[in-house]
């Protein structure tokens, strides 16, 4: 009969612990002092101090019943996840993302951009209080695009009726480059520019593409020359 080998007990709180913790396919060495409990991310990383006067419109609560909190670390009563919870959750994500943009050093106009997004968020909430303000998927897609291209000029920004982000760059030479950021990694783009050989005609191109290769694919239309700094 094979010998049964019992695993050693978890020594997370043992001073001499040298175990590594595995998440998914990556091994992370856990060097956290064992005497201390784990801290949440916002406790470990000091949050930047934001300018006063930033405010979000509050979504009217349909069911403002407060959550029941147990003394133990587990909830004694588990509430059902409602549509209101989902909306609040998406709103929170949008707010966090806007604050993230505000502190992204790679975005040269981060302050102006976050103010603009905040204004659009509030405009959308004012128009339709039950909307998420800005679609989190679209906002995330836009943010990732900006992270990839840090030398773009500041664009005109608005929201679609579905609260997706729409941005445009235009030049004095009747050139327009617009991008509609969808909720996944896709974007719809439009290029309008004069036809140099036939001044009475316009070159018009549009398509749907993943945002990571968007600029590479529109490069032949001379976009970079006038939308980047």
């Amino acid at each position: 009969m094979p010998e049964v080998v019992l695993k050693e007990p978890n020594r997370r709180f043992n001073v001499k612990r040298k175990d590594s913790v595995s998440y998914g396919d990556k091994d992370l060495l856990d060097t956290f002092p064992s005497e201390q409990s784990y801290l949440s991310w916002d406790q470990r990383i000091p949050l930047p101090q934001f300018r006063k006067g930033i405010f979000f419109l509050v979504t009217p609560a349909i069911n403002p019943e407060s959550r029941e909190v147990s003394k133990s670390s587990w909830l004694e009563k588990e509430e059902s996840f409602t549509q209101t919870n989902l909306l609040e959750s998406e709103e929170d994500q949008v707010k966090k993302m806007i604050l993230r943009i505000r502190t992204s050093l790679s975005i040269p106009y981060r302050q102006r951009l976050s103010n603009r997004l905040l204004a659009l968020f509030n405009d959308a909430k004012e128009e339709e209080p039950t909307s998420p303000g800005i679609s989190i998927g679209s906002l995330r897609n836009f943010y990732n695009f900006l992270q990839l291209h840090t030398n773009l000029k500041y664009p005109s920004i608005s929201l679609s009726p579905d609260c997706n982000i729409y941005v445009s760059w235009s030049s004095d030479q009747n050139q327009v480059f617009s991008v509609y950021f969808l909720s996944d990694r896709d974007a719809v783009f439009v290029v309008l520019k004069p036809n140099e050989k036939h001044p009475d005609r316009q070159i018009r191109v549009s398509g749907t593409i993943t945002t990571d290769i968007l600029m590479e694919k529109v490069a032949p239309y001379g976009i970079w020359d006038w939308i980047s700094e």
Partner: protein, 147 residues
């Protein structure tokens, strides 16, 4: 009458909510985007109002929007477009020679809106079509929407 085509010589108005207005106060193409679940873009047929002047039409349509919508933002605008100009522009310049259709679709809810109409065939390629329509927006034919 419901289902009538709007004549090319007539005009339509579109309410542009603040989220589709740029920081510079200009109307953005997103004002002509459809929602995912929409088939036609809501507009109003101005000649159907029976007003005696353009100014009266603007006042009447502003009144209507302020009664009909929960909230008309301070930055919201009303833009006026000629039906024939929009139809021709999109037909000639869209990638697939799109034939937009303008139908009279009066509504009773939330308030009676006898001039309500809709533009159809904006999809597919709604973004390009919207950019083309935007080129026809004239700042001189754009008015504040809030009373």
């Amino acid at each position: 009458m419901k289902g009538d085509r709007i004549p090319n010589n007539d005009h339509i108005s579109r309410l542009c909510q603040p989220k589709s207005i740029t920081e510079e106060g200009k109307i953005h193409a997103s004002t002509f985007f459809l929602r995912d679940d929409e088939k036609g873009l809501s507009v109003n047929w101005l000649e159907c109002l029976g007003c005696s002047s353009k100014e009266e039409e603007i006042i009447a349509i502003r009144d209507l929007y302020n009664k009909k919508f929960l909230r008309v933002g301070a930055k919201a605008k009303i833009t006026i477009l000629n039906v024939g100009a929009v139809h021709e522009k999109v037909l000639i310049e869209s990638l697939d020679r799109r034939n937009l259709e303008f139908f009279h679709e009066p509504e009773d809810f939330p308030i009676p809106d006898p001039s309500h109409s809709a533009i159809y065939n904006l999809r597919p390629d709604n973004v390009m079509i919207a950019e083309l329509i935007l080129q026809l927006v004239n700042e001189n034919a754009t008015y504040p929407a809030r009373k």
